[in-house]
Every structure is written in structure tokens, then in C-alpha cells.
Amino acid sequence: MVYHERVAWAQLIASVITLTGYIAVLLMQSRGSDISTVDWLPPMLWTIGAGIALSIVISILWGIAAGLRDPQSATASDIRDRDISRLGGRVEHSFLVIAGLGVIALCAAGAELFWIANTMFLGFAVSALVGGIARVVAYRRGLV
């Protein structure tokens, strides 16, 4: 597995874990009451930080393991990696645009801050998830 595929997997794994954790924390804090009353900012900031840290840690540990097996190609990359990265970027971009439009619509409707912030956050999270899946599928199934 090449360096950029490992990074794609690491980001995908970190996104799934941290997004699941964030949703679980919000649901636990709301305890069946109106979820928009939950103090969403600290868990959101922790989720963003933890997601970045976790993907870095997974990439480093996986990179060390790969480097022990095959030191020469552990960090190699080429034009296929750039093509796959561009594909993932395009997929991510489309979901960010959808989230951005959702935020504008919520602002226009005078929605609560909770829904505005979490729509944007969900846009980031879903774009990272779908972009990661697109990259991993392109590495596994092919890019022609």
C-alpha cells in the first residue's frame, strides 16, 4: 500500500471514529430533550482536534510499520496518487458546497446557531468521509 493510500485510510478511519463519538456525545447530553439546547461547541472543537490528531497518529504508526517492511517505497508517490487525490478533492468539494448552501438557507430562515453550526460541521465531516471513500475505492477498484 502506497503512502497516500495509507493516509486516505487513516483519515477515513479517524473521520468515522470521531464523527460517531461526536454524535454519541450530543445524544447523551441531550438525554431525550431538545438536542438544540446542548452545549455543542466544546464537543465539536474536541472532535475536530481529535480527528486531526488521530489521523496523524494512525498515519505515523502505519508508516513506521510499512517502512520496516519496505523502506524504499514507504513514502513514494507518483502521478496516480495525484490523480486520485484530485478525484477525492472534487467529491469533497461538492459536499462542502451542499453544506454551504444549507447554512445559507438556515441563516435565511433564522435558524438557531446549533443547526447552522452543525450543518456546516456535518458538511465537513461528510465531505471528508465521502472523499476518503472515493480515494480508497479508486485505489482498490481502479481509476481509468
Partner: protein
Amino acid sequence: MVKPTLVTNTIRARREEAGMTQADLAARIGVTRQTLIAIEQGKYSPTLEIAFQIARAFGMPLESLFQYPED
């Protein structure tokens, strides 16, 4: 998302005839071994530049390595 390509190639057969490993050929054309595997399996369409480099590595014209079906 992934469209099948009509381009086929005989790189693997030529490489084995030449007694080259995937790592040898990949190093020679400046790509990773995984990219060469993807090209050989038709899972990645190489750029023209890489295609020419592969052809040059075997001393053959492009058409003898890459085939595209007639209409």
C-alpha cells in the same frame, strides 16, 4: 464512478518475456510498483508520458504495448 477503459495492454507479458520484475520496471519509468500493477491490470490509464516511457523501456512502439479496439 469508475468507468471501464477499452484500452488493453500487454505490458505484463512483455515484462515477463524481458525477465523484469514489477519493481524493476516501476523504478525505470519512475512510478510506484502499485501504479505499475494498476496499469498492467487495466485499473489505471497511464499518461501519455508514462506510456512512452514504458514503450521505451521495452524498445517497442506504443501500439505493440497498448491496444484500442476498432469501431
